[in-house]
């Protein structure tokens, strides 16, 4: 199958404006004749559903949460980038575009990234008008900060709860449309399949998580805004229910899955404590502005951290990267922490972390200044660990956090299935091999508010008066049956191990072999381990209860089953990409100094994987070659 990116033939600066004019429109009075399904109500889904409702489409929105306000977008702390250049420090659309392509280690599509940078300012205007209480200066203007090593101040924020406030803005816009009757909202409803008729996405099958009822919903187009798949690692900073199922069901129906191995491991999370740990908590990246990262030089060091004298401490980032020090990008910081822990120099009871020490900052600035900057984070840390970071250094370790890979989409955000769109973290579009800080919120809202509502009109325009597909169409009936049969199968295995046990085991394999460092040997081993574990899952998992009511073990079982398949594809993708780039570090591809070595000659493409028919464990790779007409490729260096 050929990949058509549908990038318009136009100079990048005017491409989106030109293209908006070229695209077909649906007459305002005709929009109500179209049904659009949106799955997921995080930033991307809620903003898309609300905007399409405002435009006049008949929208059905689905979320498995009990309310549209709960999606994991809500947990984003740091901020959202936009090219307002309110401070006159030289920011521009072109600069944000350039930074994003470079930060993604040159593995994203220029046209999409430019558009993202272009609409970023509109997001701030829109959110502010909705009442999002962004931080302000005393004069009443919006405040900004520099974030994630950016050299300009372009990050807008609402305390440490930017994601929460932006999501509530989108949720409230959605609530307004629900009240007006343009959006029909289905909560506690999990999408379990995409339904195609004549090669086009024409609806979905969902399970009501409270009654267990499986129903079909028909539409003219379907939008997936179902987030990322970091939970394939079991322990991640994602919420417990985050999963790949909606995207994976679409993939099984023919949608290409792109760059699955591009995952981001965030350097500053609290290390896992023991086997029972259910998730990892992120500590904001901003801590690295004042904290110094170190490990004891002696792996057998037994003194408490505060008593280890300077000469016995190894500030490994400052030594190795004198120019950037503790502020090296996320992937570099993460990999170096892993090296220290692997060398037996880890700290904490399980020797699985490194220190992030505020001793010098407190001595230099005083405890009050540090409390003002990071007080809420210190409190959160103390609540979880029982340790006081004013007196002893924090312990941190990298944690899976965000997935750049996802469903392949074209310039219109359409997947390889006609009429099926993917927006937000669920698609692969804008971050290449590594996402910059404060760019996830931006992308979710750009897709939902400002891109998809236009491009979907171009698709629908010539479909006016097309026949509706009734939900008793054989394609719906078959899909419903398949969903029910799968649930019955999961319930009937009656094995000995819990779903969580399998999920934990899968997570260990993925973290060991497809995490911060990947090798041919490790990946090959992982693939065979995943297959064996998956077979064991399907013969030995124990799921109690029935399918006719609330049963969270059953929900989890279905999601973990899909994670097994995704995990294998991630390893296959990581194996195929013999270079190191962004968050993907192949040990075979590094410089003499041990840094990631990109290979533009052989790997300057996005990998789009198609499943081979009904055959399990078999995929075909299509490559979307990346052209760089505006950005100059360089090897990143932080020395």
């Amino acid at each position: 199958m050929a990949l058509e990116s549908k990038v318009p033939d136009s100079p990048i600066e005017s491409m989106w404006e030109d293209h908006k004019f070229e695209m077909k429109l649906v007459n305002p009075n005709n929009k109500r004749k179209f049904d659009v399904i949106v799955v997921g109500t995080g930033l991307a889904g809620a903003s898309a559903a609300a905007t399409m409702g405002e435009l006049g489409y008949r929208v059905k929105a689905f979320t498995f949460h009990d309310s549209a306000r709960r999606a994991h977008s809500i947990a984003a702390q740091g901020g959202i980038n936009a090219t307002k250049n309110y401070h006159g420090d030289g920011d521009s659309v072109f600069r944000l575009f350039y930074d994003t392509v470079k930060g993604g280690d040159y593995r994203s599509r220029e046209a999409n990234v430019y558009r993202l940078a272009e609409v970023s300012s509109n997001i701030i205007d829109q959110a502010t008008a909705q009442g999002v209480p962004f931080a302000r200066e005393y004069g009443g203007k919006l405040a900004n900060r520099s974030f994630g090593g950016a050299q300009v101040s372009r990050t807008f924020y609402a305390r440490g709860q930017t994601g929460q406030q932006l999501l509530l803005g989108a949720y409230q816009a959605l609530a307004r449309q629900v009240k007006l009757g343009t959006v029909e909202l289905h909560t506690r409803s999990e999408m379990l399949d995409v339904v195609q008729v004549d090669g086009r996405a024409r609806g979905i099958v969902v399970r009501d998580l409270v009654t267990g009822e499986v129903t079909s919903h028909s539409a003219n187009a379907v939008v997936l805004a179902t987030g990322g798949y970091s939970n394939v690692f079991y322990l991640s900073t994602n919420a417990m229910a985050c999963n790949v199922t909606a995207a994976w069901r679409a993939h099984r129906k023919g949608a290409a899955f792109a760059n699955p191995c591009f995952t981001q491991i965030h350097p500053t999370a609290i290390p896992a404590s023991e086997e029972f740990q259910s998730k990892l908590t992120l500590m904001s990246e901003s801590l690295r502005n004042d904290g110094r990262i170190w490990v004891p030089s002696d792996p057998d060091e037994s003194r408490p951290a505060a008593q280890v004298p300077e000469e016995d401490r190894d500030y490994f980032l400052e030594v190795k990267y004198p120019a950037f020090g503790n502020l090296v990008p996320r992937d570099v910081a993460s990999r170096n922490a892993k090296e220290q822990v692997d060398a037996g120099k880890g700290v904490g009871p399980l020797k699985n972390g490194v220190y992030l020490d505020f001793k010098d900052a407190i001595a230099r600035l005083g405890r009050d200044v540090i409390a003002d900057r990071y007080g809420n984070l210190f409190e959160m840390y103390e609540r979880i660990t029982g340790e006081n970071p004013y007196e002893q250094p924090m312990r941190i370790y990298p944690a899976p956090h965000y997935t750049m890979g996802g469903l392949w989409v074209d310039y219109h955000l359409m997947t390889t299935i006609d009429g099926l769109y993917a927006i937000g973290e669920a698609n692969f579009s804008d971050h290449g091999a590594n996402r910059l800080g404060a760019s996830a919120l931006m992308q979710g809202l750009a897709d939902g508010y400002f891109v998809l509502p236009y491009t979907i009109g171009d698709f629908l325009a010539d479909k006016l008066n097309e026949e509706k597909v009734p939900t008793d169409h054989p394609a719906f009936v078959e899909a419903e049956q398949a969903v029910q049969e799968r649930n019955e199968k999961l319930l009937s295995i009656g094995g000995t191990r819990t779903v969580d046990w399998f999920h934990r085991e899968l997570g260990k394999i993925m973290l060991d072999h497809c995490g911060m460092a990947r090798s041919q040997e490790g990946l090959e081993k992982a693939i065979s381990q995943i297959r064996a574990l998956r077979d064991e899952f399907w013969s030995d998992v124990k799921v109690l209860g029935g399918a006719d009511g609330l049963n969270s073990s059953l929900e989890k079982a279905g999601r973990v089953a899909d994670f097994f398949e995704l995990a294998e594809l991630m390893c296959i993708d990581a194996l195929e990409r013999g270079e190191s780039c962004g968050g993907h570090f192949r040990v075979e591809s590094q410089t003499d100094e041990g840094e990631a070595l990109r290979d533009d000659e052989n790997y300057s493409y996005s990998s789009a994987w198609f499943r081979d028919g009904e055959e399990e464990n078999s995929w075909t790779l299509e490559k979307e070659q990346l052209e760089f007409d505006y950005v100059k490729l360089t090897q990143r260096s932080y020395k």
């Binding site: 809500i74 829109q126 009442g131 302000r136 909560t187 919420a239 959160m380 660990t385």
Partner: protein, 250 residues
Amino acid sequence: MNLTLRVWRQTGPDDVGGFETYEAEGISEHMSFLEMLDTVNERLIEDGVEPIEFAHDCREGICGTCGLMIDGQAHGPWDGAATCQLHMRAYSDGDEIVIEPWRASGFPIVKDLVVDRQAFDRIVEAGGYISIDTGSANDANLTPIGKETADLAMDAAACIGCGACVAACPNGAAQLFTAAKAEHLNLLPQGQPERDQRSMAMVDTMEEFFGSCTNHQECSSACPKDISIDFIGMLNRDYAKAKLSGRKSA
């Protein structure tokens, strides 16, 4: 440590429900409260007993999904923390812990410890927004908003919609939630055109589902985000003003 749990089990909204006793053995003080429940659930499954259903998601105190009455306190003994942020350090070996769902007629029980909080969404749908279509906004810096105003609006906007305020209230009232949602917008310049309408519609909708406020202040002491009851005062003012403004002679 070893603990005894008395947990509310109820198969559905129509079931009477009752307490079951479970022994939670070998619990680490490093566990979060929900990880303790995970551990108990895994053992129940191994023993062939259906696990306890409880609502949870982000496990970092921001999504507002979790919420348990623990020994009669909404979100348990720690101040300013959601259930997911409570850790087992708060307990000692031999403790008995009583775990119940939110108890309020506005929150019907779905199963075990899971309740239905859709009434909160109805309150927001009634007017908890600013009517502005996508694409029609002015430049964000066109309307200056003083830092103190923005900070106060943010204090209200920090509400996570968990429902602890309702569960803690002897009247099952939702004043703190409604006030936080309304005043976040009523305090901002953008929120002024719809201020009267919003205040009336949200309060009227609230009263369809929840009890009345009699100033016990349990709500704000249970709130995991420490939202102040001052916002209730502000909403009362806005509501009275909205009802009385434009009143005509009888």
